[in-house]
């Protein structure tokens, strides 16, 4: 054996074949990190604040006396706690993150820097209008880009996420119908393949929901749509490109049929990334469409939000847009905050203030960086990457719609796993051991055991090949009967497969002293 002269070996000894469990629960650099409530910081703080005078004479006796139950940590402890936790997450900065319908693309750090400029980040939403002219100008410029990219005449910026944008769009549609004496329309038509938010949104604003059938080739069934389009229909909600990753070839006819019965065409814009800079929804007969800035325009997903869901509106719906909105005039920009004076038809208000300004800055930085040419390239590369994956994997996996190109995402079913005893879930969990986040599973609902892969345009060919090679190797393993590799997966992640049934049966949603062996000390008397 090779050694230094102090006796320290410099080559590994014979490899131990079986992985050892550690004595502490750690997995190498991955620490087994307790909850903050178990770290003993009941009387600690990580801030230095000078105690203030205690005078309750202006509080009418409404003082909080009992302990609140909040532990604290010093700054180094807090840093270490949250950095340790961070290391248990997958992230787009680590590897391809192929969640279909989620558009997990690179998040440029310039956008983060811009959003943190004090002129944006330290700006109060009710500050005097003369002190926020740059913010209003940015909103106005962002609106111009969104309107130009979609060929739509108006945009409501304030919705805070995609589903919130859907809500905004349907509220505008509802207001438009009521203004025309068509308030009796009770029905919204939604394809079976739609995102769950579509029917949920329609129901949330009081509509009944009916489903539109799908054709063999994964598109809206025009005959079924036509049969269901009555004067009782308020709107249809169609995702395009749809959730099977396919462009609705008959989209113009869909719009024509919808308008013929006096209904509106709501387009779910979750998949706008496939066509941005190349195809304008306004040319397709769309009346309203939300744009997920956290998808197409790359504002970070942040572990589940915040997002932003501005809604572009057609001429017919524009008068019903919610407050507030920006107007420009000779003496600068203004914010119309009440719909009563200037446009009596506005349907109300979606949020307390102006919307997700922090996301507007990031999305606008992203648009300026790409420009009209770069955005067009975004759509092309996103579609190219998805088709490349579809082509490479179709040899071992079964594409749900093998004929013709897909758009920005490639959809597979579980037909190819028949007879292997491996399910879509097992296959997805085995991908984790190979260093990749699984694709979207079991969605859309119209495809059995669906696996929906969206690579986005920010993946290199090398990363795509690495990903495809891993999936092909796994597919061969599944077909070769290496079932344990899948059934027990993941083996190498921070945790093994989790018991979701137990979590739902006896929900433990907060840490409570009576549910643990670690008791919190009461806050020391002050």
């Amino acid at each position: 054996m090779t050694m230094l002269n102090v006796g320290r070996p410099t080559q590994p000894q014979t490899a131990v074949p079986v992985a050892h469990a550690s004595l502490t629960g750690a997995r190498g650099l991955l620490q087994d990190e307790a909850l903050i409530f178990e770290l003993g910081g009941w009387d600690k703080t990580g801030v230095d604040l000078e105690p203030a005078e205690q005078d309750a004479s202006d509080l009418a006796g409404l003082i909080r006396e009992a302990a609140i139950g909040l532990p604290g940590l010093s700054e180094p402890e807090a840093m270490r706690h949250y950095v340790r936790l961070s290391q248990k997450n997958h992230a787009i900065d680590l590897a391809l993150y192929p969640l279909g319908s989620c558009t997990m693309k690179h998040n440029p750090r310039l956008n983060e820097k811009a959003a943190r400029l004090p002129g944006f980040a330290d700006l109060h939403p009710m500050a005097p209008i003369s002190t926020v002219q740059g913010a209003l100008q940015l909103m106005d410029e962002l609106a111009h880009w969104l309107k130009t990219l979609t060929a739509m005449p108006a945009v409501a910026l304030s919705p805070k996420a995609g589903a919130h944008g859907e809500l905004c769009g349907l509220l505008a549609i509802k207001a438009a119908h009521e203004a025309k004496g068509q308030g009796h329309r009770r029905l919204v038509l939604v394809p079976t393949s739609a995102h769950g938010t579509n029917p949920a949104t329609a129901a949330f604003v009081g509509y009944d929901v009916a489903e539109i059938a799908q054709t063999e080739d994964g598109r809206v069934d025009l005959a079924d749509l036509e049969a269901k389009l009555t004067t009782d229909v308020a709107a249809i909600m169609v995702t395009n490109p749809n959730t099977c990753g396919l462009f609705e070839r008959d989209v113009i006819e869909i719009g024509r049929l919808t308008h013929a019965v006096g209904a509106y065409f709501y387009c779910d814009g979750a998949n706008f990334n496939a066509i941005v800079g190349r195809v304008r929804p306004g040319d397709l007969g769309v009346d309203a469409m939300h744009i997920n800035l956290h998808k197409t325009f790359s504002t970070p997903h942040g572990g589940g939000g915040p997002g932003a869901g501005p809604v572009v509106l057609s001429e017919a719906l524009a008068p019903f847009a919610p407050a507030p909105w920006v107007v420009s005039g000779a003496d600068g920009f203004k914010l119309v905050e009440e719909t009563v004076d200037e446009a009596a038809q506005g349907f109300g208000r979606m949020v307390a203030f102006q919307g997700q300004m922090g996301m507007f800055v990031r999305a606008y930085a992203y648009m300026l960086s790409h420009g009209s040419d770069g955005l067009r390239q975004v759509a092309e590369d996103a579609v190219l990457n998805a088709n490349y994956i579809k082509a490479r994997l179709s040899g071992v996996m079964s594409a749900a719609f093998p004929d013709g190109p897909c758009m920005h995402e490639a959809l597979f079913d579980d037909h190819w796993l028949e007879g292997t005893d491996v399910t879509t879930l097992d296959f997805a969990k085995a991908m984790i051991d190979e260093g990749f986040h699984p694709m979207t599973m079991y969605f859309p609902l119209v495809v059995h055991g669906a696996m929906l892969i969206e690579p986005t345009e920010t993946e290199s060919k090398q990363e795509l090949d690495r990903f495809c090679d891993a999936l092909i190797a796994l597919a061969h393993a599944a077909k070769a009967g290496d079932v344990d590799r899948f059934k027990g997966a993941p083996y190498l992640a921070p945790l093994r497969r989790l018991d979701e049934t137990l979590a739902a049966r006896k929900p433990k949603l907060t840490w409570r002293p009576e549910l643990t062996t670690v008791a919190p000390a009461p806050l020391a008397a002050e």
Partner: protein, 447 residues
């Protein structure tokens, strides 16, 4: 383009593998009439330096809150955020991860959400909390919709002290769903009027404390009246720091507590992104909107966390879901949790006491200005004053001295007829010099 890794050679090779000649072949399903050969009428791509320059120029046209004396509140508050918070939320693993649908590789996000839910439940004095809403105003609307599901009744009573934007958001959503909203007349200190408005059809009453005029309100009696009528008590709070000093919603009988969490960790951001706090009694948990994180074990029996009770949610339940919410405010919830962990109970109580003390100093200074009337009888860190000559005019006038005096109430609700009412707030960031400058400038104007 610096964000696009494919080279022309890559693209050509990939088209070959796919078996098509050009990229246009992949867009063959798009109707010919909608296929645009030319670029849209927008600027071409730009380098990082050029983009940064343009955005800096826009930012420079704004006057940040921290640039001088600043007294705006009314639902968003200027607080100091420790540097650690912004560092941690920019870690790749938090910033660039998705909703934790694969829990084995998302324990970081999930454990944070579990800590967040526990902190929110503790702050509000309730048993369970969700993993965040978009903001306080949308949380308020969701709470009213939830009360409708719980009670199967269709009317809601909104206090006249509720932030007008919160009332407008709630009315917008609830009306669409067919609910009948009784919004009581705007009044500085008339929460007791809520009791008189309760009927056997009332699903819930919504009271804000401290209210939009800063009035600290004991809702105990309102909650008793609501419960006697079979209605739910919803308590709204727009200043989360107040939880460190004031009796919690749960202690006063709230069934659902909704709050804007912006004050802790998030920053002003010109109105968003913010983070909605949403807590309720455990017996209502299955009617809650939004994501919930719960504790469980993995296949080796180790503790772990997952998103749970998802049969309430749109991706499973579709049109029968409790809400249509999908994306929430995860990264802001993380910022909230880190800041709250840095504060701890001791820090939060100190911070709340400092805020209250600063507001008292501001009140004393403004009360000494001839012509100024203090309208809020008891307050936390914000109160209303009457300024002769109009609130909006006063704010404009004081800008000449680079003082941002507050939010004219007429801007929140032009119809209320309160054009001379100005809402002013003080926080730990307010200095004695700021207060003195404000009082001096006001004196110069009113005398």
């Amino acid at each position: 383009m610096r964000y696009l890794p494919l080279t022309p050679a890559d693209r050509a090779q990939m088209l070959g593998v796919i078996g098509v000649d050009t990229i246009d072949d992949l867009f063959a399903d798009v109707p010919a009439a909608a296929r645009k050969a030319e670029l849209f009428d927008l600027p071409r791509h730009a380098g990082e330096m050029e983009v940064e320059r343009h955005l800096q120029a826009l930012a420079a046209k704004n006057r940040p809150a921290g640039a001088g004396p600043f007294f705006c509140g009314a639902g968003a508050y200027k607080h100091h955020v420790p540097a650690t918070v912004d560092h941690i939320i920019q870690r790749s693993e938090f910033l660039t991860s998705y909703t934790p649908y694969q829990p084995e590789i998302a324990q970081g996000t999930l454990q944070v959400l579990f800590e967040f839910q526990t902190q929110v439940a503790a702050l509000t004095g309730l048993e369970v909390a969700n993993a965040s809403m978009y903001d306080g105003s949308t949380g308020c609307a969701e709470a009213v919709m939830m009360a409708q599901r719980v009670t199967r009744r269709k009317t809601a009573v909104l206090s006249g002290g509720l932030h007008p934007h919160y009332a407008a958001v709630t009315q917008t959503i609830a009306h669409a769903e067919g609910m009948d909203i009784t919004r009581l007349p705007v009044a500085i200190d008339a929460e007791a009027a809520v009791i008189a408005a309760i009927t056997p059809e009332t699903a819930c009453v919504v009271v804000q404390t401290p209210n939009v005029f800063g009035v600290v309100t004991d809702v105990t009696k309102i909650a008793e009246a609501a419960h006697a009528a079979g209605a739910l008590m919803i308590v709204v709070t727009t200043e989360a720091v107040s939880f460190g000093l004031l009796k919690s919603p749960g202690e006063m009988g709230a069934d659902i507590a909704v709050a804007e969490g912006q004050s802790i960790g998030v920053g002003l951001n010109y109105g968003g992104p913010y983070v909605g706090l949403f807590a309720c009694r455990e017996k209502f948990v299955r009617q809650m909107p939004g994501r919930l994180c719960g504790e469980t074990v993995d296949a080796e029996g180790r503790r772990g966390f997952v998103l749970t009770l998802s049969t309430r949610e749109q991706h499973i339940r579709r049109e029968k879901a409790t809400s249509n919410i999908c994306t929430n405010s995860g990264l802001c919830a993380l910022a909230f949790t880190i800041h709250m962990t840095l504060l701890g109970e001791r820090g939060l109580r100190d911070l709340a006491a400092i805020n209250h003390a600063k507001a008292r100093q501001l009140r004393d200074a403004l009360a000494a200005v001839p012509g100024i009337e203090i309208l809020t009888p008891r307050f936390f860190n914000e109160f209303a004053i009457r300024v002769p000559g109009g609130a909006a005019q006063t704010v404009e006038a004081l800008l000449a001295d680079d003082i941002v005096a507050g939010v004219p109430f007429s801007r929140l609700d032009p119809q209320a007829g309160l054009d001379d009412v100005l809402l002013v707030a003080a926080t730990e960031t307010t200095t004695a010099a700021d207060i003195a400058a404000f009082a001096q400038a006001l004196k110069g104007r009113t005398v």
